[in-house]
């Protein structure tokens, strides 16, 4: 496929369009499906966090109720040692979730001789065992489970701790202070506790983590991990030390919100192993603990990604099919065009017989082909005609050339024309225009002493002018040999020419007869340009025109004969309007003025030199521009009978 071809452009434009549309659809699809999945996951995560929190809270709340009731019973001042012990035993017996329970009294508050009094019931191998806590090695007044409710005057859930008695289970203690009235004041008597194993919480959360693609964890009120799939973190790290280790300030911020009892969904960036994740958290309000559910973003997005991958794959497949289809279609459309181009190139290089592709289709290409066919036929016809016309023209031109040669050959061309005659010097030139023209000149002796010379200009161009010129020249010669009067000659020639002149052609003529012995010149003019006379005495001057009619138009026209006498050295310059009307490239005429100026520079020159000087000046003026008229000049210089004088 050519790079700038229609097929390529069509295909690329269509494909670019298709790609844009496809990308837009993919993008839309991704955004919508992503937000759907994210909101679904959000719902699921929030539900899971809330549900877990409620579930655990439920158990803890039940224990709180039990222990609050027990604490009320302990406010009875009349309790005996046995009753107190039984109460402790009963708590464990009635509440299987409670692992141990202590009823600890203030120093000397239960027995005045005993600083420590704290019966403790706990489970061991399905039995409920009993011991007394307190002593120098176990000053329970400084234990959190005792000190906190004592100092804070409210019940507390302690931070989880590892039980040192049993199998190192993770425990928490719910501790409730109890009071007795003395002198109208509430006085603290002691603290009753319930130790609860957190194993079931850890198992519950581990079970949830197993079922979910993410994981669930639980934080204590200070952010300590109570449950987390990474056992190394449990009780060793808080979410804050974790954040510090991971250099993850966002995690610290989220941790603070979690332990503050908030619930929310946040996106955590760059979590270890799982990368970007969503965290849903929900608090256990009474304990100020928090449940967190973490879903790795990439797992949530896995479905979206898969869907989008599939859509993208389908899209790319479709794209490939589209590429093939368009390429095929485009090349089918352009194939006849390409063939037509080859034929057109063939035609352009001259082969008019080039075969055009055959098309049967009625589309634009078919029409173009048929138009080409028509054009080919027309060109062929035209070329045939042109060939014939050109051949005819060439034949005519060749004939004209011959006619022109013949025409020129009848003019005297040999110079010096009369080398034996020292009385005068004559020189003439004719520069034929491209077309055959009708200028003529001639000179000859009428008798021993009279010399006739003339210049004429037939109207029109071409063969008729040439014929007319030949006739005129012949007539002039015949007539001039019979009479020495130039006017008479012109009258006779005019009559002969005017007779049967249906074409209405005419000729201007200047005819002069010079008596060689005296230099006396008699002349007549039939509408010809006035010649120039150059004398030593007066310089250059125009011979006044006689304003008589051109020859050949009207019979019986009269022509006057005039005369003048040339002194030795005088020159008569006769020319046709081809000289004065010669044009340069800007269509400016040479004009009489310029001719006169040049003539003025010709004093003392021979006839030939004069003609050549004027000719040179003319050529300088026209700059080689092709002239439409013949340029004919004749110079007659009278030298006198005694040239030596």
């Amino acid at each position: 496929m050519r790079l700038h071809g229609i097929a390529f452009r069509l295909a690329s434009l269509t494909l670019v369009g298709a790609t844009l549309i496809l990308t837009a659809i993919l993008g839309y699809n991704y955004t919508v499906s992503r937000s759907m999945i994210v909101s679904l996951a959000e719902e699921r995560g929030t539900l899971l966090a809330d549900y877990t929190a409620e579930n655990i809270s439920g158990v803890f709340n039940a224990i709180q109720k039990v222990m609050n009731t027990i604490s009320f019973s302990l406010e009875d001042a009349g309790l005996t040692t046995k009753q107190v012990n039984d109460l402790g035993w009963m708590v464990l017996n009635d509440n299987p979730e409670i692992f141990g329970s202590a009823i600890a009294f203030e120093p000397y508050a239960f027995q005045s001789d005993s600083k420590y009094y704290a019966p403790y019931h706990y489970r061991s191998n399905n039995d409920i065992l009993f011991e007394r806590l307190g002593g120098k090695d176990y000053q329970y007044f400084y234990m959190d489970w005792y000190q906190l409710p004592r100092e804070l005057e409210r019940s507390v859930w302690t931070e989880p701790y590892y039980d040192k008695v049993g199998d190192s289970e993770l425990m928490t203690t719910y501790a409730v202070p109890f009071y007795r009235m003395r002198d109208g004041h509430k006085v603290l008597k002691g603290v009753v506790t319930a130790d609860i194993s957190l194993s079931w919480v850890q198992k519950l959360i581990a079970g949830l983590s197993d079922r979910e693609s993410g994981y669930v964890f639980m934080l204590s009120r200070y952010g300590t991990f109570i449950a987390h799939p990474d056992a190394n973190l449990v009780m060793n790290e808080t979410i804050f030390t974790r954040a510090e280790k991971l250099k993850h300030p966002q995690l610290r911020e989220v941790g603070r919100r979690m332990v503050a009892g908030e619930s929310d969904v946040v996106e955590l960036k760059d979590m270890p192993v799982i990368g970007d994740s969503f965290l849903y958290f929900s608090p256990l309000l009474d304990q100020q603990w928090s449940i967190g559910v973490v879903f790795p973003k990439k797992e949530i997005m896995a479905d979206v990604s898969r869907l989008n991958r599939e859509v993208a794959t389908l899209g790319i497949l479709g794209f490939v099919v589209l590429v093939l289809l368009i390429t095929c279609l485009a090349s089918r459309i352009t194939r006849p065009l390409r063939k037509l181009t080859v034929s057109a190139h063939d035609m352009a290089s001259g082969n008019l017989e080039a075969e055009l592709p055959v098309t049967t289709s009625k589309d634009e290409v078919g029409e173009l082909t048929s138009a080409f066919q028509t054009m080919q036929d027309s060109i062929k016809n035209y070329i045939t005609n042109l060939t014939e016309t050109t051949a005819a023209k060439e034949r005519i031109e060749s004939e004209l050339r011959i006619a022109h040669d013949i025409q020129m050959s009848i003019l005297p061309k040999l110079f010096p024309a009369f080398p034996e005659r020292k009385e005068f010097d004559i020189y003439a030139s004719i520069e034929p225009a491209k077309e055959v023209g009708g200028d003529l000149y001639d000179f000859f002796f009428v008798d021993e002493t009279h010399f006739c010379f003339l210049v004429g200009d037939v109207s029109g161009k071409g063969v008729p002018a040439a014929f007319f010129m030949a006739v005129t020249k012949t007539l002039l010669k015949v007539v001039a040999e019979r009479t020495l009067d130039p006017g008479e000659v012109l009258i006779r020639v005019n009559n002969d020419l005017a007779e049967d002149n249906d074409a209405c052609m005419f000729v201007t003529l200047f005819l002069a007869v010079m008596e060689i012995s005296t230099g006396k010149v008699r002349y007549a003019s039939a509408g010809h340009n006035p010649p120039l006379l150059m004398t030593k005495r007066k310089g250059v001057e125009w011979i006044p025109p006689l304003n008589e009619l051109v020859a050949g138009v009207m019979e019986d026209t009269h022509y006057t004969t005039k005369s003048m006498t040339l002194s030795p050295g005088d020159t008569l310059f006769i020319y046709t309007d081809g000289v004065t009307e010669a044009m340069d490239s800007t269509q400016e005429l040479y004009s009489e003025e310029r001719l006169e100026d040049v003539m003025n520079q010709c004093q003392g020159k021979s006839a030939e030199q004069i003609i050549r000087t004027i000719d040179g000046a003319l050529k300088d003026f026209t700059g080689g521009a092709e002239q439409s008229d013949d340029i004919t000049m004749l110079a007659m210089q009278y030298l006198g009978t005694n040239s030596e004088s």
């Binding site: 906190l148 100092e151 804070l152 009120r221 200070y222 952010g223 808080t238 280790k245 610290r252 941790g255």
Partner: protein
């Protein structure tokens, strides 16, 4: 039979480590393994003790034992202890001698929540202040006596829950340990105001190495070797904090002590701050006589000791 003999011979010749370990001595530390003692653990691990001809057995402490008791009873040849504790025992007649003062600056501090409105020491008048044990009460008592403030000391459990739950106005804390625990509980440093005793003209150098007078007399070269290698250990620990924290965490896990990297990293960095004081870049294990005198003055005033302790009897400089 022949081959067994050969094997024994090979063992004998090929174990230069055993030969170089030389004299076995025991070093008792105040507490469980943590980076507070990083220098000693690293000196052992990196072979600085062995290179100095000692095979040091480190006895870590716990709630039930006291490092100086172990030295006095002969359970250990050497032990680490706070200066004030050691002076107290000295004045009670224990023939102890300080052979190196490692920690120059007191890490003890008072921490209050910004939200409590306490901005200066004087705002603590009438406050309830959390403590944990008597050892750490000498400096605060001196402070409040000096400032004529009445405060109540409340012994709290090491969990610091009472402070966290608002049961106390202020708490004592060690900069390298408990202060970080508060951060680890989610308190931001900008939510706390701190007062360092070292900034309140109550600096008391802390961890130093002690032994019995007789131990020093009988084997002064062992004592000097122990100090030299311990100093090397500390310098190595400060130069390679990551490796050190890794090593200490390993030891802690083996001892089943709750361990977390952030806390141990923090602790090591703070130990550096209180060991390499001022612009010092090398550890000089010398007991500063000025600090010694001021500590003694406070101990006398509070009645912890009753007689003057001559600096030169108490402290023996072994390096140099």
């Amino acid at each position: 039979m022949c081959s067994l003999l050969l094997l024994l011979m090979i063992c004998f010749f090929v174990s230069p480590a055993a030969a170089a370990e030389g004299k076995t001595v025991r070093l008792a530390l105040q507490w469980y393994p943590q980076t507070q003692f990083a220098g000693y653990y690293m000196a052992k691990k990196k072979g600085f003790y062995a290179a100095n001809g000692l095979n040091v057995e480190i006895l870590h402490g716990d709630a039930d034992s006291n490092s100086l008791d172990r030295v006095i009873s002969g359970e250990a040849e050497f032990g680490t202890a706070f200066l004030s504790t050691a002076m107290q025992r000295w004045s009670q007649g224990a023939p102890l001698v300080n052979i190196a003062q490692i920690v120059q600056r007191s890490a003890l501090m008072l921490v209050v929540r910004k939200a409590s409105g306490i901005k200066t020491i004087n705002d603590l008048d009438g406050a309830r202040i959390g403590t944990w044990g008597d050892t750490f009460q000498l400096q605060p008592e001196a402070l409040f006596l000096r400032e004529k403030l009445h405060v109540t000391f409340v012994r709290q459990s090491p969990s610091f829950e009472l402070f966290m739950r608002g049961g106390l106005d202020a708490t004592l804390a060690m900069w390298y340990n408990e202060y970080h625990r508060l951060i680890a509980y989610g308190l931001n440093p900008d939510e706390m105001t701190t007062f360092f005793f070292s900034d309140l003209n109550l600096n008391q150098p802390e961890d130093g190495i002690y032994c019995l007078d007789s131990t020093l007399k009988n084997a002064p070269e062992s004592a000097a070797a122990l100090v030299k290698a311990s100093v090397q250990g500390w310098e190595y620990a400060f130069a390679h904090p990551d490796e050190t924290v890794d090593s200490i965490l390993d030891i802690m896990k083996k001892q089943k002590v709750q361990a977390n990297r952030a806390q141990q990293t923090w602790m090591l960095a703070r130990m550096r701050d209180i060991i390499l004081v001022g612009k010092q870049s090398r550890l000089t294990p010398v007991l500063n006589p000025v600090d010694f005198d001021s500590t003694q003055r406070e101990l006398l005033r509070s009645g912890v000791i009753t007689t003057d302790i001559p600096y030169n009897d108490f402290y023996k400089e072994l390096l140099r």
